[in-house]
Symmetry: C2
Subunit: 145 residues, 2 copies
Amino acid sequence: MAASAASPLSELTGYRLIKLGEALFALAERTLADFDIRPRHFNVLTTAAAQPSLSQRQLADVLGIDPNVLVGVIDDLERAGLASRQRSPSDRRRHVVAVTASGKRLIDKGSRAVAAAEKQYFATLNAQERATVHAAAGRLLGLSG
Amino acid sequence: MAASAASPLSELTGYRLIKLGEALFALAERTLADFDIRPRHFNVLTTAAAQPSLSQRQLADVLGIDPNVLVGVIDDLERAGLASRQRSPSDRRRHVVAVTASGKRLIDKGSRAVAAAEKQYFATLNAQERATVHAAAGRLLGLSG
DNA sequence: TATTGTTATACTCTATAACTATA
DNA sequence: TATAGTTATAGAGTATAACAATA
């Protein structure tokens, strides 16, 4: 039993999942570092690409991050040539975030790399275990899929 | 499918588990706030209680936190009367962390509260799903249990 | 000289609230 | 006046390295 070599809390499922989340975030960070992009930036980029009509405010709402944080992230993405701001003609207060061709290529490459890293990380789980974890996490998070 | 209402990354198991970990950390924070203690402090306290002979350095190693951070945590625990530092007679450089009776009572109450909060949080999972998630997380983290 | 605990420092991240420009 | 984006500021958290006491 691990309780003598680690925290007694590691017998709690919630504690394990907190640690697992931290480990997976670190894995994402390492994996995406090969493409000079951080997880949050990659998340913003893929979401903007999937929903090209979103304003910064809507993007911030969808991703659950503060609008002022998004400013810096999009600054970085613009500087790297991965996305660009475009004023909405109908409401000139709004900035619609457009992903460049370079940004889309990075999404493709990054997604493949992250999926491969995940597959390796979860290699000790069989197909059924992995499906259960995936579905259970989705249900607990209130995702419809 | 959730992809149109959230990040496309939410189809990745790793992304879901990162978000799940964040949600569970927030749940632990809210639950333990009733006892005026934070998750990290509770973790240090329970580990020190389970292994009374550990020095601060060993405690830091076991919990994977920096020794300088542990200083502040133990300061807080001492101030709250939950633990106390005791110099090791055999090596006067070392501080062994002793948990007080009050600290042990808090461990009992806090553990019950956290377990109850978890049980409710995982209520939508059946017994087998929950067992699979628990075991899978343990295996991925390299726990022996 | 090496190690334990502590302190000091700087850096990152985040949260809040002003500020501008548009509506 | 209200909202979108931006900027400024302060606070929390963390990481690194210097430091005093002990080995």
